[in-house]
Amino acid sequence: MSGYFKEIITGLKSLAIGLQITNKEFFTKPITLQYPHESVKMTPRYRGHIELVKDPQTGTHRCIACGMCEKGCPTGCITVQAEKREGVKGKVLTAYILNFTTCSLCGQCVENCKPEAINFSNEYNLASTRREDYIFNLLQKLHPEGVPEPEIDPELLKKEREKKEAAKKEPAKKAAAKEGGESKAEEKS
Amino acid sequence: MPAEQPQEAAAPVEVQAEGEGEGKPKPKAKKEEDAPPRKNGLIETEYAKRGAHLDVQINPDQVVSAAEFLDGEGMTLEMVTGVDWIKENQFEVIYDYSYTGGQLLRVVVRARVDRNKPDIATVCHIFGGANWHERETWELLGINFVGHPQLEHFLLPEDADFFPLRKDFKP
């Protein structure tokens, strides 16, 4: 019988303690952050979608279009388009397309990138009802007012022209090389 | 820990007893680097390298007695894995046993079945947990666990008529 009353008293006590705690919480300040009106500061390491890094020296990206990011991507969401231009060393990036709908933000591309040309952005306010809005051209994002033309190295240009002329002498070879190059470019696009 | 000692001593004995029909088992067989398939028997593997202490290969008809024996030793069936060895035209069923009662002991029991007739006895009357694992292995690889109470589709849709983990599966 005493157990019966003890049970009631401990039970009621536990209920009262619970009420006390919620009451205390009632008078403390809410911790809610009213999101659209105010927002938290993103940490520098936040992984948004990837972006091309602007090199402060050249004022443009560092991408050499090696395609390592494309190869390393688990979901195949990166497409790098590049072409060979006269008088420019290496390949020239024409478009860097990220399909963010399939990106899993793992960071393999960033890690694989030797020249450190890509990095995670801090953008988190992405919302849209259209799928196409998430297919970014990162090159365009980096230079919204138009992509600057790569500088032409006159010496290299001269060398290349010379080479071409030398190649002209062997027309068969040249034709084959050109064809190969074209088909490759087509594949990329 | 008391259960640990007999286990170590008993396991080779068990395998020898079971392997009699198969010819002389070779405990401590060399780690096979060569092409010929591994012979039945027990290998003491290096835990730090492989993640298991004992590695036993047995005939498919011995998995039940192996499970019974390991159950008697108080071991747990951790998972059942099926592997499709398409080159050898075989399926391998790997049973991972572990001991949760004290000192660590992990035993791998493996059995190979013919790929054309993949029948292997179920152990789910011994380990209830094997039920789901075997069902999954059946579903994804098509290894038929004879005597399993409920070989129905589980993770895949009910009308799936393919075995996605087989190496010759084309989506």
Binding site: S14, I17, G18, R45, Y46 | I94, G129, L140
Partner: protein, 372 residues
Amino acid sequence: MSSLAQSQLRETFELNIGPQHPATHGVLRIKVVMDGEYIVRAEPILGYIHRMHEKMGENRTWNQFWPNMGRLDYLSAIAYNHCYACLVERAMGIEVPERAEYIRVITAELNRIQSHLLGFGAYIMDLGGFTPLMYAMDEREQILDLLESVTGSRLTYCYFRFGGVYNDIDDDFITGTRAFIKRFRPQIPMYHKLVTGNVILMDRLNGVGPISADLCRKYGATGPVLRGSGVNFDVRRNEPYGVYPELDFDIPVYHECDSMARYMVRMDEMVQSCRIIENALNKLPEGPVMAEKVPKALKPPKGDFHFAVEAARGTFSMRTVSDGTNTSYRMRLRSPTYSNVSLFEEASRGMLLSDALAFLGSLDPVIPEMDR
């Protein structure tokens, strides 16, 4: 168990709990044959979020499989990262720098606290109390902020790498973690006062859903379920990996075998995780966080490898069969919830519906991890 439930003469009906149901925490479906409010048979049906991670493991290179590890158990993703990293390191024989090991443990334990917090909150919400979930969410947000400042993501972490971690932790993280623990410690007694001591909750959990240690063994149940049944087994202690042997912590074990015991194991594990983190922060050495010689194109030797870690819900282990190429030949993921929930059918027989759902909640299932 009622005699009614056993009687064959009674009329029964089928009830589908799920795939969309508040108590199943996701898309688990339980087909229940009921006799009034008593359960005659409850059969979990899986596969509503099955993504075939094991096949992905066969198609993707070792490095490309990383993001999958964040999407199995999205609540304790770092433990899964840990398992995969250690598995491949074991296969390749890569040595991990000391500092990276400590960072791994710190983040994994923070992740464990976070997971248990949500588990606690969601469990109480299953039982009808909404407020503790919000308090737990408050604490959890702080952990997520901390982890975000290191890993860059809030939920599906892809932070570990073979041979170390993606990036080093900074002083802000260390002070932030210390401050969090200082703030979090007194919260746990508050939870106990508000929730655990509550007579209504005790009435609901004590003696509900008994699972004997032997049943756990037969079904391969691990983690808090096993420890709530009086078995002192924790991979961190019994099969130590990382720097866990050097750290000082206890394994909470309860012998009551009921839902309350499992709940208490989780609550006590949070305290122990705090201890581990503080301990690890004190011992944190200087040095690099990545091993120096990790090949870009990984090709582990032939053979099969196994690794197990203690995730928030139990033993998560992976077995991989490598054929020496840059993808694995077979990747097997053993998720703890899969085994834990497989005993539901046997253990829930003859229970009341409300007890069965309290029992299911005490198993703390995470469905994406179950279905893989």
